[in-house]
Amino acid sequence: MNSIRIRLFAILIATTGAVWLFAAAWIYASTQAEVERVLDARLMEAARMVSSLITDHQIDPSAAANAATADTPPPPFKEAGGGYSRQLSCQIWSLQGSLVSRSESAPATSLASHTDGFEETEIEGERWRVYAVVNPTLGVRVLVGDSLEIRDRLIGDVIKGLLLPGIVILPVLAALIWLSVGRGLAPLTRIAEGLAGRSASELHPVDAGSVPREVRPVIRALNSLFGRVAEARDRERSFTAYAAHELKTPLAGLKTQAQVALRTDEPSVQRDALSRISTSVDRTSRMVRQLIDLAAVDASQDVTSDEEVDIAVLVGEVAWELENQLAANDVHVAMELSDQAQPPTVIRGDRILVRLVLRNLLENAIQHSPKAGEVRCRVLARTNEVCVEILDQGPGIKQEDEKRVTERFFRGSKAHGHGSGLGLSIVQMALARLGGSLTFERGARWFVAKASFPI
């Protein structure tokens, strides 16, 4: 059942009905017991009264039977035309077994055969409850009885009186419950309408104070989702804005150099300007590529492919890819596969992320190497990780900058103006996704960037 309204309605109707039926059953049982008690007491009282009347000789025993029925108080549940008259029947039998007297309503046959107390008998197809009392003085037995059918009718009438209005009221109750549930759920409808009317950029939280307590957990969860989405959007927006700003400087450089090339008459100035334009285009396209990489790493948060990646092989591939840059910078890359590289250098993870880590670290090393410098790559397989160490002879990263180098667009306080300031933040993000880590070491000859990939 997918509608809260129908669900609530069904539950309420079922429980109301059940309570009602239970109450009716209870009342039935207690009424039955009470009626039994009251009528039994009446039987007893009537029998004793007849017995005492005839003992005192106030009434002739032959007439006494009628006194019992005539003296009874009006029936307690008299209804109009209900037919509760002549409830009691009285017989007086001699102890020898002859009928001395009987009331008008009493049958001719003996109501009961017992001598004392209550008994239920069946006479002419009718069930009777009879009280017998023996009058030893006169040697008679007084029997007073009433028809059980009348008792049952009495109880049945009480229950009917209870259930009939219930059956009439039930549809009214159902309609009221249906409307009330609808009203009760109105806050949900209001929230839904409020949310449906929002535009994509309206990520402000729903006011949890104005919603019913029961919906608050949902609203809180929703608000927290809104918060996360808004945060991601803000991050994206500020990143886009920042990226656009960062691209403006190389664009300004390109434009200025182009204008210089256009207006100069000196071939050497023109050649210089054009070669700078070419360099700037290379750098700017690297920056654009890194921006795309960064977006890719950001997006990889959701999908993580889990494939086998051989780090040693991948380092070789990346170094080969960077051959152009190596030649341009006159840098030599030496691969060092350590002796312990016997255990496989395979990890499980996203190949694209691993490649980004290796490529950016190698590119950094190459770019910061001195002319004719050397870059060394070591791949070390350990028990629970594969470690890649990239050594270069460049100036390295100053201790005080180490914490900030992985910030986007941070270029170091004495930057050379080559980099985009994105490389290490890509490395850091990709390693974080892979569960790895990035550390730096400064040696006498080498600056070492270490990336650890968990196996």
């Binding site: 700003h245 960062e246 403006k248 400087t249 190389p250 664009l251 300004a252 450089g253 390109l254 434009k255 200025t256 150099q257 204008q259 210089v260 207006r263 100069t264 100035v269 210089d272 300007a273 700078r276 360099t279 700037s280 750098r283 270029r411 170091g412 306080s413 004495k414 930057a415 050379h416 103006g417």
Partner: protein, 220 residues
């Protein structure tokens, strides 16, 4: 006019340097806040072009230190962040003008001339003295309406003198305007160019104040 350009992107810096030299400016260039502070401390510039985002700080700090020390050199801010709030912050910190990247070289030159001119309290770009008028925007000069052809250095010297008529400029003052840091100062250059200017503008146009320097001769 001698400029200091503070910009950390080497390609843009080179472009500005070469381009502005072609527009008749003498350009010195630095790439960091520390170098900019040192240069401003040590030398006098007619204007400073200041990038806001530098590797070791922000150009606004340089600007604030200049203004605090009473340096009124006109400053043109260059920045990639060209939102209104940034522009307001820049101008309020004492900048004379503001230009968002990327920009047109001619616009940079025009704005530089404008802020320098305002610094001298002049409303128009045209410099006039007696029958000679000088148009820094076009790097052209005329006498009695007839165009005179001037070399870049002749132009720089004439412009310096005409910007502060009556004020004596020493030889080293004029050399500062002619040469950047990397350039070798040739001895007698100022004398040679003043001589050439006199032959084009009339012998009495520039007066030599013995032991002090040069100035434009006041009208008799």
């Amino acid at each position: 006019m001698r400029l200091l350009v503070v910009e950390d992107d080497e390609i843009l810096l080179d472009g500005l340097k070469v381009g502005l030299q072609m527009c008749g400016f003498t350009v010195d260039a630095v790439t960091s806040v520390a170098d900019a502070d040192a240069a401003i401390e040590a030398d006098r510039f007619d204007a400073v072009i200041l990038d806001l985002m530098l590797p070791d700080g922000t150009g606004l700090d340089v600007l604030a230190r200049m203004r605090r020390s009473g340096d009124r050199t006109p400053v043109l801010l260059l920045t990639a962040k060209d939102e209104v709030a940034d522009r307001i912050a820049g101008l309020d910190s004492g900048a004379d003008d503001y230009l968002g990247k990327p920009f047109d070289l001619d616009e940079v030159a025009a704005r530089l001339r404008a802020i320098v001119r305002r610094g001298h309290g002049r409303a128009t770009g045209l410099l006039e003295w007696k029958d000679v008028s000088l148009d820094p925007a076009r790097m052209s000069a005329s006498r009695d309406g007839m165009a005179i052809s001037l070399s870049r250095r002749e132009f720089v010297i004439l412009q310096a003198l005409m910007e502060t008529p009556g004020v004596i400029l020493s030889r080293s003052n004029l050399e500062e305007k002619l040469y950047g840091w990397q350039e070798e100062i040739e001895s007698n250059t100022v004398e040679v160019h003043v001589h050439k200017l006199r032959s084009k503008l009339g012998a009495s146009f520039i007066e030599t104040v013995r032991g002090a320097g040069y100035r434009l001769r006041a009208a008799q």
